[in-house]
């Protein structure tokens, strides 16, 4: 199938070698800095973030590795844990943070918040807070791609927990039957809220990888080290090529570890809400597990690897990190200064 030449890609899928590795590291750092700033907000500016926020720290290699294969107009449809993806797509952090803070200048005008970021101009149509349902919607985006024939594919990200929803099974079956151009990235961060995946997944109970589910639909399935962006890139690239070639969907399990708790504490206002300890410690009393995975922190590991292979120098790494910190701090200041929406604005946008 003739490949449409991608325009200068926000995901830099056209880059190669060291440039791309540096780009990947930069995106991973930007995600990490953003998530840490969100987390700090609960302490430095209590009450500014409402409801439930969920962070992608630990998922950076999975997100960036997968999206490094993306072409400019491919759709990206993650779950409600959605901060990382638009960061890679180039969505301005100012608008993102302002949305998390519920401000007028937010990406969605304060209507959606942390769980419901959307940036359709960058082919990121939105997210659902109802687990698993976005898998069907992503499959619908793949239907659009198939019908419109512009060479687009869909990157559908969802959690290990979501793979237990009916929508997962129904969607993958249809995508396989209709040969839809979609890559299903099952992000196994090992927890479904407070539940370890070994307590609720049939494949895990049998000692199999979660990608075994692909066999039920007779589509390719693979499990990859989700703490290594290059490994993720390699596997997802294959799945993306297959989708682009019109051969249908694949399922890629990226296995990594969520480094923060599921989300901030759920409580009734005006009680303060903050990030608790990770469930491994707070629920299961298993600090060892947490420390073991923390030592595999994908951002740190990738940094070390790039230093070793001289793709980065200490100085260039620090420059990337300082730039990300500055960018995120600017986003926080922007969001804090942005006004809250006027109450009557709530009446807008109910219908198109």
């Amino acid at each position: 199938m003739p490949k449409k030449k991608a325009r200068k890609s926000s995901a830099r899928s056209t880059q190669s070698g060291s440039d791309q590795l540096r780009w990947m590291y930069t995106q991973m750092v930007r995600i990490r800095e953003f998530e840490e700033a969100v987390k700090r907000t609960f302490i430095h500016h209590p009450g500014v973030i409402r409801g439930h926020s969920h962070l992608g720290d630990g998922a950076e290699a999975s997100i960036v590795g997968a999206l490094s294969t993306r072409h400019d107009t491919d759709f990206v449809m993650p779950s409600y844990r959605c901060h990382g993806y638009p960061i890679v797509l180039g969505t301005p952090l100012r608008q993102m943070m302002a949305e998390v803070f519920g401000r007028k200048d937010g990406l969605c005008g304060g209507f959606g918040g942390s769980m419901h970021l959307a940036d359709p101009s960058r082919h990121f149509p939105g997210t659902s807070g109802i687990i698993g349902q976005s898998i069907a919607q992503a499959t619908g985006a793949a239907l659009t791609a198939q019908v419109k024939k512009k060479g687009q594919i869909v990157y559908c990200f969802f959690g290990d927990g979501a793979s237990k929803q009916g929508a997962f099974f129904e969607s993958l079956n249809m995508a396989a039957v209709w040969k839809l151009p979609i890559v299903y990235v099952l992000e196994n961060n090992q927890y479904q809220a407070y539940t370890h995946f070994s307590l609720e997944d049939a494949n895990a109970v049998a000692g199999d990888p979660l990608s075994k589910k692909a066999e039920a639909f007779s589509i390719p399935g693979a499990t990859v080290d989700g703490t290594d962006p290059v490994a993720v890139q390699k596997v997802v690239a294959k799945a993306a090529d297959r989708a682009r070639a019109g051969k249908g969907p694949s399922l890629v399990e990226t296995k990594f570890y969520r480094l923060s708790a599921h989300g901030n504490v759920i409580t009734v206002p005006p009680l303060p809400t903050q990030f608790p300890e990770h469930e491994a410690v707070a629920v299961y009393g298993n600090r060892k597990e947490f420390e073991r995975w923390k030592s595999k922190d994908p951002v740190k590991r990738f940094r070390e690897r790039l230093l070793k292979s001289r793709v980065l120098t200490q100085a260039s790494a620090k420059r990337i990190e300082a730039a990300a910190r500055t960018e995120v701090e600017d986003a926080v200041q922007f969001a804090l200064a942005s006004p809250l929406p006027a109450p009557e604005e709530a009446l807008q946008h109910v219908y198109a």
């Binding site: 973030i49 409402r50 409801g51 439930h52 519920g102 401000r103 937010g106 969605c108 304060g110 209507f111 959606g112 918040g113 769980m115 419901h116 659902s128 807070g129 109802i130 687990i131 698993g132 349902q133 927990g161 979501a162 237990k164 929803q165 009916g166 929508a167 479904q192 809220a193 407070y194 539940t195 370890h196 307590l199 609720e200 997944d201 409580t267 009734v268 206002p269 009680l271 629920v283 299961y284 009393g285 809250l340 929406p341 006027a342 109450p343 009557e344 604005e345 709530a346 009446l347 109910v350």
Partner: protein
């Protein structure tokens, strides 16, 4: 004897008491009983207390099947919207079997879920979906507003031989109140007059009962006597208690957290229109505005009913003059 308890704890106490009473009662759901240290698991063991994956269709369907065959499951669903992915099971399965079998089969399952969490959870986690369920014959719908009712109605729900959707307003989880010790059962289908009054009837549901009582307190300072009625169960609905009050006051304010046309208020208004005709002089519905629930605080506050809106509505029905025909 009674003791002060938090709303959430009162629900748990009822489930524990019913599990002690009846070995057929089982309890499962997501993100519960994760470790051996879980107190429910310790008390009742792995067979009766289980953790479930994020699989509402199966969780609810399994509850129905187990109920049809001899168990009395209580399914923890956390937020009422999560039931929506399994709405066939809730609406078109559980309530149908009794009738379709000509009265041979019963489905004693309790679907427990919080609802209406207006705390910045945005469009998909803050809703009130009871209207959709209260009009389904065969299905019962319970919405307690106090810790005591939370306990008593959970006991009744578990003992009931029909599918019961037990909806608890998340905003009340930490509220405290006196709860009777020991066995305490509040019958389904009996409204409670939470505050007697003579000038106006306020019918409020769930979290809104708290707002209505606060409004009534403020109105009392202005010598306005409001009667606050909590239906407690939306199906069966105690129409008589509401209608009797309206016959007395002639003026009514219905307070409901749901948008107008998907509120229970709209159903209650219809019953009042039919059964209190000749007595009714003015009626107002204080509901959520017709929007999804927004994330940002000023937007959310604008959309959801509050004490001020109730006070204002009461004053408007009291000053309403019937227009001469």
């Amino acid at each position: 004897m009674a003791r002060e308890m938090m709303y959430g704890d009162a629900i748990a106490a009822a489930i524990i008491a019913e599990m002690q009473r009846d070995p057929n009662v089982i309890f499962y759901g997501q993100n519960m009983a994760m470790t051996e240290r879980d107190p429910m698991l310790k008390k009742f063991g792995k067979e009766r207390v289980r953790i479930a994956p994020i699989s509402e269709t199966a969780e609810i369907g399994i509850g129905i099947g187990a109920a049809m065959t001899g168990l009395r499951p209580v399914v923890e669903l956390w937020m009422s919207e999560f039931m929506l992915v399994a709405f066939d099971q809730v609406i078109n399965e559980a309530p149908r079997f009794r009738y379709m079998s000509g009265g041979q089969v019963s489905v004693p399952v309790v679907l427990k879920a919080g609802y209406g969490f207006c705390a910045g959870w945005a469009g998909q986690h803050s809703n009130c979906i009871y209207h959709t369920m209260m009009g389904i014959p065969g299905l019962k719908v319970v919405v307690p507003s106090t810790p005591a009712d939370a306990k008593g109605l959970m006991a009744a729900a578990i003992r009931d031989n029909n599918p019961v959707v037990y909806l608890h307003p998340y905003m009340l989880t930490l509220d405290k109140g006196e709860v009777p010790d020991g066995e305490y059962v509040v019958p389904l289908g009996v409204a409670d007059i939470k505050r007697p009054g003579t000038d106006v009837t306020i019918v409020a549901i769930g979290w809104m009962v708290k707002k209505a009582l606060a409004a009534a307190e403020r109105l009392a300072e202005e010598n306005i006597s409001a009667e606050v009625i909590d239906p407690r169960t939306l199906a069966p609905l105690d129409v008589a208690t509401v209608v009797n009050s309206v016959r007395k006051t002639g003026r009514v304010v219905l307070v409901d957290q749901a948008p107008r046309h998907s509120s229970a208020a709209v159903v209650i208004a219809g019953e009042i229109a039919e059964h209190a005709v000749g007595f009714l002089r003015a009626l107002r519905m204080v509901t959520a505005l017709d929007t999804p629930i927004p994330y940002s605080e000023p937007l959310e506050n604008y959309v959801v009913p509050n004490e001020e809106k109730v006070v204002e509505a009461v004053k408007s029905v009291l000053t309403h003059k019937a227009v001469a025909a």
